[in-house]
């Protein structure tokens, strides 16, 4: 089984995820960014604008603006105009609660609407009692914001983060979003044992049986709604992944070409991230791996030559058969080792497999890791 081929590394990232602020008007139970929010200070407007100029010089194509809650920044529109002036497109992740008619009017100024790829609102329940358990006191405001964006024909998307509080509500959430609100599609993920949730695992993280339930429910809903529910991680993505493994095994295959190594993350070949104090990190899921500071360190140098970036890219040359946790696993030939962020959170080493994405863990057959029940 050969190592996965390494993608060519472009001269600079194609996109950058930027946490513009550590301020947020909510206190969600599973926020992965909560520790950074309390420990770091926001950068002033001028420093972000200067950074956007650097991104423009490097011909970065798009940024994803997140936080915290981006709409708590009073200078948000100035910053968005800075993105636009430097020849980039942008997307926004928001809790939706601060979206108003004034917000929609602001989007119509200049090229703000033209350059907007998407604006993603988080909805975690079909009604306040469910949504508010993980995202306190926000359901009505988030839904109002979502409806406003839809009425304005904004490129709005929704993310549902599956957790212990909404696992029995998934069909109602799908009905609300797709039938009642009229959303074209939504995506799903799963509350991960990281950030603030690390301290609340038992309260919100799916149990193994709930995870299985979520996988089954979301698979059925995705079929019923014909592709309008998707996922790149979490229960629905894992259900598809694990089903594919079973199908390959049933067909007598021993591997999937390009797999069998720690090749689960392509992000390190295309993108970087920045925390709200200007710290450069490989990804917001790898927020403890500090690579430098904007305005101090040359972003292109960090991208091309930082030892951590090089190590993350070389990760896909590590065969799973060389890992103690995977050596005797019957699924190594079908596996990519999953997200390095999860691996780092759960094992302290990004050069390990992510147990949350592991088929053997999911089946309760792993001798090294058991999901919290």
């Amino acid at each position: 089984m050969g190592a996965a081929s390494r993608p060519r590394v472009p001269s600079a990232p194609l996109s950058v995820d930027i946490a513009l602020t550590g301020r947020c008007n909510l206190h969600c139970k599973y926020c992965f960014y909560a520790d950074e929010m309390t420990g770091l200070q926001d950068l002033p407007t001028e420093q972000w604008l200067s950074f956007f100029q650097e991104l423009g010089r490097l011909a970065v194509q798009r940024v994803c603006l997140t936080g915290g809650e981006v709409f708590t920044r009073p200078d948000l529109w100035t910053l968005i105009d800075g993105v636009i002036a430097n020849r980039m497109r942008y997307s926004i992740l928001t809790n939706g609660t601060l979206i108003s008619k004034e917000t929609l009017a602001q989007f119509e100024v200049g090229k703000r609407r033209l350059r907007l790829d998407s604006i993603q609102v988080s909805i975690d329940g079909s009604r306040a009692e469910v949504h508010n358990r993980s995202r306190p006191n926000s359901f009505d405001r988030a839904l109002r914001g979502l409806r406003l964006l839809l009425e304005a024909k904004s490129p709005v998307t929704v993310r549902v983060t599956v957790n212990r509080h909404n696992v029995n509500d998934l069909d109602h959430i799908a009905h609300l979003l797709l039938d009642e609100v009229g959303l074209a599609a939504f995506t799903t993920n799963e509350a991960y044992p990281c950030g603030i949730m690390e301290r609340q695992v038992e309260g919100i993280m799916l149990t193994p049986s709930q995870r299985l339930q979520a996988m089954q429910t979301l698979t059925e809903l995705a079929l019923r709604y014909e592709g309008r529910i998707s996922a790149s991680a979490g229960p629905l993505a894992l259900a598809r992944e694990f089903r594919a493994i079973d199908e390959h095994l049933a067909a007598g295959r021993t591997n999937i070409p390009g797999r069998g190594t720690l090749s689960g993350c392509g992000g390190v070949f295309t993108k970087l991230a920045v925390l709200h104090d200007g710290t450069i990190v490989p990804c917001h899921q790898l927020a403890t791996l500090h690579l430098g500071k904007i305005g101090v360190d040359d972003l292109q140098q960090v991208w091309c030559a930082h030892p951590t970036m090089i190590a993350l890219r070389q990760r896909r040359e590590i065969s799973l058969e060389n890992l103690d946790t995977c050596r005797d696993c019957p699924y190594t030939g079908f596996c990519t080792g999953g997200c390095p962020g999860g691996a780092l959170f759960l094992t302290g080493d990004f050069n390990s497999r992510n147990p949350m994405d592991c088929y053997r863990v999911h089946r309760g057959q792993d001798p090294y890791y058991q999901l919290e029940s």
Binding site: S11, G56, R89, L114, D117
Partner: protein
């Protein structure tokens, strides 16, 4: 169609150009969200068009840098490049003084 000779062309200032070593460059139009990969010759033309030039001016610019290439072939390459770029909104006609 070969554009009229007197017309001066210029790159769309909103388009970014990312040089990628021997592969040429990646052009990105953020208004249309279109990406174009251009080869090293295309990159030379692109750089020439960062100031307003006629197609003849670009041909002359290239002929100074290319040895042993028939001028007719260069003219055709330049005409094709400009036509494609105008069609996709990556290059426009110069309206300045």
């Amino acid at each position: 169609m070969v554009p009229p000779n007197a017309t001066r062309y210029i790159t769309n200032p909103d388009v970014s150009c990312r040089e990628e070593g021997p592969d040429g460059a990646l052009l990105f139009n953020p208004d249309s969200d279109q990406v174009l990969l251009i080869n090293p010759t295309g990159l030379v033309i692109w750089r020439a068009l960062e100031g307003p030039r006629t197609s003849e001016g670009i041909v002359a610019f290239l002929m100074e840098r290319c040895e042993g290439v028939p001028e007719e072939a260069v003219q055709q390459d330049v005409a094709d490049f400009i036509a494609t770029m105008i069609d996709k909104g990556f290059v426009g006609t110069w309206q300045g003084a």
